[in-house]
């Protein structure tokens, strides 16, 4: 096979093909979503979209979240054919959405309960400039992707509970790509479209692509910053056709958890996370932390299951095993999410959170019990909050708030209770029953509305004219009698509501107008709203199938739209023909309405038809028109599109934002959350939906679901990242969903990044765990965030006693070392330890480049066999320093640990010998803190050392702390004030020196005056060096700083000019012997400073001599005398 039509690939970023503009404002194609997962923690995950046009061209496009909201959000657009308006690579409007492409996820959801074959082909491709690298053999790759633990086919079979099957998956390769790595991979991006095209083309002879649901592209080296997963289009073997796709590289066949994560994206899953604004911090979902558990024996690195929210979205938790909590108290058994028994117990419970919003809720699931969930830190109920506005759609509920959502703090074990007082919710875990947990859920009464069966599937045959009537039970509660609800269709289509409002519970009725509909799948959505943010959605799917005769239809037969007076707005429909001759049947389009202009008046076969409604001359009010499509060969030969346009007067409106609009953060500081109060006046102030977007990468808006209405809060995070010190304005634009054509309003938020010092910050300074002797597993983690310049690329290391704490090797990371912001986890070695407290210190430091480190105190309490009381102190030595004569007091402390079962009742006391130490807490009972101070009063300069002895009864030898105090004389600058003279044009070097002062590193700077141009002071070394560019006397004041001490000194430096022989200067100019380099620099500095000696420089030198002679005619300079002599010689015949 060969490429029938070569894909043309759009380059990432701003390089979008100009042909889009030539195609006009609207185009149609299939949307493909691609997630970018950076290898380094701290970098945000990003979701990009590509649009694959009918000719195979793939464009990278931006789609604002708010635009997709009426169609079910960005996720719902994946692999869907759309008609959109494009401007500068940005989708500005979605004009229509078509049936999902064959084999994609919405079908999976509809076919829930049926095992679907979803085979993947994994292609191994090598960059030609790295010909010898093969991180895995074909057999090893087949093992990683295969059907035995932990191969991917085995993994997804368990995670989907048998809902999908990857049987039939194959691995092929290695193939050599046609272009070098640099053609595909940049420092922060990879051209995934090009990688897919070339890798697939290389394998085309061996693979029939339509046999597979997805393609894993695995390269032989890294592919830059990231891995990618999502979907894409291929034109091979017919097409274009959509496939799930992943882009991976390097040693990924060993770290199969990363493969699972990207395959999850290719199945349509987004990320989940903890509640702390990070993305990759939750072990409860492979779509957060993909690879963290090393399998015994073979050493594969994998993750756990997909969380219940993701499984439900993909239809892997059917309605029969999904429990919807109702008002009141209920007790249920929630079965293990992994390898559940076939007993009908729910696999999840969904608990609405009405005070947060109608689209927000909690999910409850039983985790840590079996299969891929077995390595999780504990067994119990895990709760996610969905739609809460965190970094991802579902966030782990972590009651201990310790920035670690993956520890036991997130597990609700029997006896534990989760309480949400805002929503009046209580979840009590009663007991474990086999591999299930008995849970009591209490949900307080609240305004609520629900639809009995919220998802409908109906079918019709093209050419029929009968309307389909349908209805659903509507249940309303928690509001006073008589409270009115309203129903509205969310977007245009064949659905017509028969019931648009009512009070109390009742029936919701609608019809589907099938007349004129062509074959295809029509999605319709109805929202029933009880009050703001209290609503229920109904989804209706109408499948129209082809008949045996040529039938003409349209993708939509009615369009209700609105626009602002004085504007133009486009409309659309698609001609759908079915039956014999459908591909070639011709048709024409017309409209009698003078304000309608049809863009394409004739065509053949299935095609989109667009037209323009010109409201420039229409008065406000309702205007209707008919779009007539005539297909002579079809029956009926005419189908009609009814267009209703509401023209509204141009409104006046405004947006004001209150809150912080200018924030200062240090370079590399941790991200900071903030919010702005948005006040909206005018026609949308009372409830118009809006969404915001921003223009720079230093400012991240938190997604808000559902879209805010009227005045409200805009939440966001500012992250200075690696931004250099400076001012970074971010433009936040506001767009109203009801009127996207209205020019958006924008406000400016300013982030000021100031220089920061390099330092390691920890999410917490202490960690502790307690367990019963005999337990083998105890582990913990901390988030380490480097601050200061280049913080995301600074390498740091953790150090701890190796016999007591271990940092498991994760993937290919260097043990104990990480780069940038990162979680680090450790395992406590429990074996052989006796009962009581065990305290260790973990030290964090930059590997190179300097900066302040950090340390963490890790405590482990083992309840077990009594051991003799032991005495230990957290430090064996301490040191500090003070200036002689200073009255400053320096405090210090150390932790005294009394171990053993009886340690808590043993007293301790401390003593010292010298008077410069004062013990402020000198005794205690059980473990506690020893505190003391030091003072320099009466001490001479030099070192003073003393020992603090801590003793406790029946603990053996005393513990000791060697305490050292350095007393220093005041900091001073030494050396002469008149510094060595320099010569203009000649290299100059001097060294400033200081004496005494604290032992902190010294820093130098000039505080007033200035050094000669070309000469600079090195702030770290005190060296003064350079090439003086001017002559004269230069006075300046130098300051040296060490810690908090400073010293100043006024200094002078003179720079003279060299004396040059006139013959030598002229010879240099006329091509004779060259002057010394210093003298050449001098002449050039005098003249035009272009880096060489030329006629202009010699002229300047000559004029300088002549000017000096004019000033002192009695004593002309020696150069002038020599110049005159030379002139006389040269003039001689």
């Amino acid at each position: 096979m060969s490429l029938s039509r070569a894909l043309r690939c759009a380059l990432p970023g701003a390089l979008l093909p100009l042909s889009i503009a030539a195609q006009g404002p609207e185009t149609s194609g299939t949307v493909h979503a691609v997630w970018r997962d950076p290898a380094r923690a701290g970098e945000p995950a990003t979701l990009t979209h590509h649009l694959t046009l009918d000719d195979g061209t793939t464009l990278r496009v931006g789609i604002a979240r708010g635009l997709a909201e009426p169609y079910g959000g960005l996720d719902a657009l994946d692999r869907r054919r759309v008609r959109v308006a494009l401007r500068d690579g940005q989708v500005t409007a979605i004009r229509g959405i078509d049936a999902p492409a064959a084999g994609t996820l919405p079908e999976a959801r509809l076919l829930a309960g049926l095992a679907q074959p979803r085979p993947y082909v994994t292609l191994l491709c090598a960059f030609p400039d790295f010909p010898d690298i093969r991180p895995a053999t074909l057999a090893e790759a087949e093992r990683a992707m295969g059907g035995t633990y932990p191969g991917m086919a085995h993994y997804w079979d368990e995670v989907s509970n048998g809902e999908i099957s990857m049987a039939g998956s194959i691995v092929r390769g290695w193939y050599t790509l046609p272009q070098p790595k640099s053609a595909y991979v940049g420092s922060s991006e990879a051209n995934v479209t090009l990688l897919a095209r070339d890798c697939a083309a290389a394998a085309d002879a061996d693979v029939h692509f339509p046999d597979f649901a997805g393609v894993n592209f695995v390269m032989n080296t890294d592919i830059g910053c990231c891995f990618w997963g999502g979907s894409g289009g291929l034109t091979l073997d017919g097409g274009p056709r959509s496939y799930g796709m992943t882009w991976l590289g390097g040693d990924v066949m060993r770290n199969v958890g990363f493969v699972a994560h990207e395959m999850g994206h290719s199945l349509g899953l987004g990320h989940s996370s903890g509640p702390y604004g990070l993305v990759y911090d939750s072990r409860w979902d492979v779509m957060s932390m993909g690879a963290w558990y090393v399998t015994p024996g073979e050493g594969f690195v994998i993750g756990s299951h997909v969380n219940a929210y993701g499984k439900r979205r993909l239809g892997w938790i059917p309605d029969a095993r999904h429990y919807e909590a109702v008002v009141g108290t209920q007790t249920i058994l929630i079965e293990s999410a992994a390898q559940p028994a076939a007993n009908g117990n729910p696999l999840m419970a969904r608990v609405p959170t009405p005070r947060f919003g109608a689209s927000q809720y909690y999910t409850l699931e039983a985790r840590g019990l079996a299969g891929y969930d077995a390595p999780l830190p504990g067994a119990g109920i895990v709760i996610h909050r969905v739609g809460g506005g965190g970094a991802t759609a579902s966030n782990v509920v972590d009651p201990d708030g310790n920035f670690e959502p993956s520890d036991l703090g997130a597990v609700f074990a029997p006896g534990e209770v989760f309480e949400d007082r805002v929503n009046d919710i209580t979840v009590s875990v009663i007991e474990r029953v086999g591999n299930a947990f008995r849970v009591t859920i209490r949900l307080g009464d609240h305004p609520r509305v629900s639809i009995g069966v919220p998802s409908r599937q109906l079918t019709a045959t093209a050419g029929t004219t009968a309307a389909i009537a349908d209805s659903a039970v509507l249940t309303v509660g928690g509001v006073p009698p008589g409270t009115t609800w309203t129903a509205r269709s969310m977007f245009a289509g064949p659905l017509a509501l028969q019931t648009t409002s009512g009070t109390g519970s009742g029936m919701l009725r609608w019809t589907l107008q099938t007349a004129g509909l062509g074959p295809g799948v029509y999605y319709q959505s109805v929202r029933v709203e009880l009050m703001p943010a209290v609503f229920a959605d109904l989804e209706v799917r109408l499948q129209v199938t082809a008949s045996g005769t040529l039938v003409a239809g349209l993708s939509q037969t009615a369009l209700h739209d609105s626009t602002i007076a004085g504007t133009r707005r486009s409309g659309f429909t698609a001609v759908r023909l079915s039956g014999p001759g459908a591909d070639t049947a011709s048709w024409t389009v017309s409209s009698a309405a003078p304000w309608i202009t049809v863009d394409s008046v004739a065509g053949r076969g299935d095609r989109w038809v667009s037209y323009t409604r010109d409201a420039t001359s229409l008065a406000p009010g309702l205007h209707t028109a008919q779009i007539l499509v005539d297909v002579p060969a079809a029956s009926p030969s005419r189908v009609t599109m009814y267009d209703t346009l509401r023209v509204v007067a141009r409104p006046s409106w405004g947006v004001t934002a209150r809150g912080a609009s200018r924030t200062t953060l240090a370079q590399g500081a941790m991200p900071v959350r903030d919010s702005l109060r948005v006040e909206i006046s005018g026609p949308w102030g009372a409830g118009g939906e809006w969404f915001a977007n921003q223009s720079t990468g230093s400012f991240y808006l938190m997604p808000e679901y559902p879209l805010p209405r009227g005045s409200g809060w805009l939440r966001f995070t500012r992250a200075p990242g690696d931004l250099a010190p400076g001012v970074y304005p971010a433009t936040i634009g506001f767009t109203f969903s009801a009127a996207p054509d209205v020019e958006p309003f924008a406000i400016v938020d300013t982030l000021v990044v100031v220089a920061g010092t390099s330092a390691l910050k920890l999410s917490r300074q202490t960690t502790r765990d307690s367990l019963v002797a005999g337990t083998t597993v105890s582990e913990d983690s901390v988030f380490v965030h480097p601050e200061g310049p280049s913080s995301s690329s600074r390498v740091w290391a953790a150090d701890a006693p190796p016999t007591r704490l271990a940092f498991p090797l994760m993937g290919s990371l260097i043990p104990n070392q990480r780069t940038g912001p990162e979680w680090i986890r450790w395992v406590r070695n429990v074996a052989g330890r006796s009962g009581g407290w065990h305290v260790d210190t973990i030290r964090f430091a930059f590997v190179s480049g300097g900066g302040t480190g950090a340390q963490l105190i890790d405590s482990l309490f083992i309840a077990g066999p009594a051991a003799p009381a032991t005495l230990a102190v957290s430090a064996s030595s301490r040191r500090t320093e003070l200036q002689a004569g200073s009255s400053t007091i320096v405090a210090d402390s150390a932790f005294v640990t009394l171990g053993g079962a009886s340690g808590g009742s043993v007293g301790w006391s401390a003593t010292r010998s010298s008077t410069w130490i004062a013990l402020t807490t000198a005794n205690g009972l059980g473990s506690g803190t020893l505190r003391w101070t030091r003072g320099a009063a009466g001490l001479t300069a030099g070192w003073h050392v003393d020992t603090i002895r801590i003793t406790a009864a029946a603990t053996g030898s005393p513990a000791r702390i060697l305490d050292s105090l350095r007393v220093y004389a005041p900091l001073a600058i030494t050396g002469a004030s008149l510094r060595p003279a320099g010569v203009m044009g000649a290299a100059y070097a001097d060294q400033l020196t200081s004496a005494d002062g604290p032992s902190a590193p010294v820093r130098w700077r000039v505080t007033s005056g200035a050094l000669p141009a070309g000469v600079a002071l090195d702030s770290l070394t005190g060296a003064v060096a350079g090439v003086p560019e001017a002559s004269g006397s230069f006075s300046f004041t130098v300051r040296v700083v060490a810690g908090t001490a400073t010293a100043d000194r006024a200094m002078t430096m003179t720079v003279t000019e060299p004396t040059l022989a006139a013959t030598a200067v002229i010879d240099q100019l006329l091509g004779g012997a060259r002057l010394a380099d210093d003298h050449q620099r001098y002449l050039d500095l005098l003249g035009n400073r272009n880096g060489r000696v030329d006629i202009g420089d010699v002229r300047a030198w000559r004029n300088r001599i002549l000017a000096a002679a004019a000033e002192s005619p009695a004593e002309p300079p020696a150069e002038l005398q020599r110049l005159d002599t030379l002139l006389a010689q040269r003039r001689a015949p």
Partner: protein
């Protein structure tokens, strides 16, 4: 006495004619010393210094170089090249004179650098020309 054969007479006449020609060769033209004037054409009115090069044919020597009116001149002579540096208010016209051993020799003159009153070099020398006049 037998008369000399005709072909011998012709050969002797030819030999005589050749002998006369070899004993009295024609003298080459003599080199005539003289003065070459270097005349500058400039697109600027405020030139203040000029560096130029004059290339002479092999065997032609320079005996003296003098500056144009109001100018200061330095020069350096090598095998077949004279480099000149001129300072002062340079205007279009004669800027230097060269006394050479052969005034008819083909001489080439080239402007290398020109600076203005601010000592900066003229970036483009396209409009400059040095003409040699005899």
């Amino acid at each position: 006495m037998r008369p000399m054969p005709r072909h011998l007479l012709i050969g002797l006449a030819a030999a005589f004619a050749i002998g006369v020609a070899c004993s009295e060769p024609t003298a080459p033209p003599r080199a005539v010393p003289g003065t070459l004037e270097l005349s500058l054409a400039s697109p600027n009115a405020d030139d203040r210094a000029l560096l130029a090069k004059v290339v002479l044919p092999r065997g032609v020597t320079v005996t003296a170089v003098t500056a144009g009116a109001g100018l200061e001149l330095f020069h350096r002579v090598t095998a077949d090249t004279v480099r000149l540096a001129l300072f002062g208010d340079l205007a279009s016209g004669v800027v230097a004179r060269l006394e050479v051993s052969d005034a008819a020799a083909a001489v080439q003159a080239q402007v290398l650098e020109v600076s203005g009153p601010d000592d900066r070099l003229r970036e483009a020398l396209g409009g400059y020309a040095l003409t040699v006049r005899r």
